[in-house]
Amino acid sequence: MTPRRAALHTVWRRPAGRAGLIALALLALLALIGPLVLPDPTAQGDLLNGALLPPGSGHLLGTDQLSRDVLSRIVTGLRLSLIIGLASACLAVALGAAVGLIAGSRAGMVDTVLMRIVDALLAIPRLFVLLLVLAVWDRVPIPALVLLLALTGWYGTSRLVRAETVRLRGEDFVRAAEALGAGRLRIALHHLLPNVAAPILVAGTLGVGDVILLEAGLTYLGLGIRPPTPSLGGMVLDSRSVFVTAPWTSIFPGLVIVLTVLSVNLVGDALRDALDPRSA
């Protein structure tokens, strides 16, 4: 069994990991095929008689104050959340891994300068930076939002990867690779990177949850994804005025946020236990 399959197997054997994987698979499936079968999430029906319908009644999770189907909007919002979470966590991890590898495999000045920059960046709260940028940048396009979330989320990974790389650099197999004529780049990519894949994978998975939560929060503050694009955070924001009379309009999107982040984190924790027994 390859290490990758072995890790997946270990995650599956843990109840929490298995629950997370199943929940995540179901959510992903919903986000994938939901939009194909559900009504248009932006279509407004009869505004007089179709608004704020309770669950059931032709709309499984009811309608909002603009008579749009809540389930459709949740599914579309979920899809966007997952895409943003995945894309920006991947970007962040790639950036963090690259910086960590460079710093770790090139000792001396390069290492010192890069790590001091990371220290400085870590000292600035992520939310503060995001609020600042988004407050200035009105109606930020989604790709830019992904980039922003990635650019503020790679510091931890870079330190993790650097620490591992420094430890590995002294290992015999790195010396052996050198003695057999491998260059610096080859050693970093071929010998060091596969050895730090485990912490990268864990950091990336947990990063997905962070980003989804952060995006929902920013959108709830009116700074992230703007209407009419359906988003989970946006739905909670839009329905706060009717929360008491039509709780389904905010409770269901809220629940989906919680469920998504929870299942991602469950998988991430199980992965960490499986791949890195030291930090368990």
């Binding site: 197999f173 052996a176 690779a177 003695a179 894949a197």
Partner: protein, 324 residues
């Protein structure tokens, strides 16, 4: 004819406490001929492993090989090579086998990956070709069912098999020289002999030269053509293996033989060499072995050079014949 590898006055420097410089390898000279095995013998700490690394210019920083050192591969001075040119030499012309196959293989890459990588580092071949070559190499180093072993990870292989994989990696780019640094020390006794057999067979088949670095005289006997005995960064005796075994000239070599148990002959008490190799910072200015030498006399306060003990037999001792 120029020797395949000629080393003259190889010296490695490390900065030490108090702004001083120490030389763990201090003026080592030898030459290595095609198809022959030269053994570098000595206790731990005598600088023999560092000599091996220095030949590839891989002394760990802050150490460095002194510019006055001469390392000639087929007459070309490796000291004048830049990093890119050295990378071609490393693995491509001089392969290296390390002591511990446990830690010298990358734990997350399959045996096949690692051999194929070594092939691709030096030859413009496709992935498939490299893989086929890796399988052939595994077969050549005596691993049964190479196609299956190709996809196994180091932890799935036994110690002996791992060392065979290491040798296959070292052979990947068909180097002319193999430096084997204590290749059998981490292995079971029964496996040791097999690995040494393998190195010998490969040397004969491929006409390679082997530099065998070891502390074990039993490994040298019958396998090395020539040997250099190292002590405290210097070569103290240099001759054919037969000459050294028949008539060791240096008191240190005597001492080494005295500390090895023999099966044949009368049962005798082993006579160890008292003390241990002092660290480079504490080396005496005279003969470095003098403090441990049973035969030291007044002259040992000054450093002897290599002196002729017989034809092709040199020893760094005042008790030995004439100036070499």
């Amino acid at each position: 004819m120029t020797p395949l590898l000629e080393v003259r006055d190889l010296r490695v420097s490390f900065p030490a406490a108090g702004g001083r410089t120490i030389h763990p390898v201090d003026g080592v000279s030898f030459s290595l001929e095609r198809g022959r095995t030269l053994a570098l013998v000595g206790e731990s700490g005598c600088g023999k492993s560092l000599t091996g690394l220095a030949l590839l210019r891989l002394v760990p920083p802050p150490g460095r090989v002194d510019d006055s050192s001469v390392i000639r591969l087929e007459g070309k001075d490796l000291m004048s090579f830049d990093e890119a040119a050295m990378r071609v030499v490393r693995g491509g012309r001089i392969g290296m086998v390390f002591q511990d196959p446990m830690t010298s293989l990358n734990p997350v890459l399959t045996a096949g990956d690692q051999i194929a990588e070594a092939v691709r580092a030096h030859r413009p071949v496709t992935r498939q070709e490299a893989r086929a070559r890796a399988a052939a190499l595994l077969g050549e180093v005596g691993i049964a069912d190479p196609a299956r072993r190709l996809d196994e990870y180091p932890h799935q292989l036994s110690g002996g098999m791992r060392q065979r994989v290491m040798i296959a990696i070292a052979l990947a780019a068909e180097p002319e020289i193999i430096i084997a640094d204590e290749p059998t020390t981490a292995l079971d006794v029964t496996v040791q002999a097999q690995i040494l057999e393998l190195l010998d067979r490969l040397r004969l088949e491929r006409g390679m030269a082997v530099l065998l670095i070891t502390h074990d005289l039993g490994v040298v006997a019958g396998r090395a053509d020539d040997m250099c005995v190292m002590y405290a960064g210097q070569i103290v005796e240099r001759a054919s293996t037969r000459q050294v075994f028949e008539a060791p000239a240096h008191p240190y070599t005597h001492g080494l033989f005295g500390s090895v148990p023999t099966i044949a002959g009368p049962r005798e008490r082993l006579t160890p060499i008292s003390g241990s190799v002092p660290p480079p910072a504490a080396w005496p200015t005279g003969c470095r072995f003098a403090p441990r030498c049973p035969e030291r006399f007044a002259r040992c306060d000054s450093m002897p050079s290599l002196r002729r003990a017989g034809p092709g037999h040199d020893a760094r001792c005042w008790l030995t014949g004439d100036e070499a």
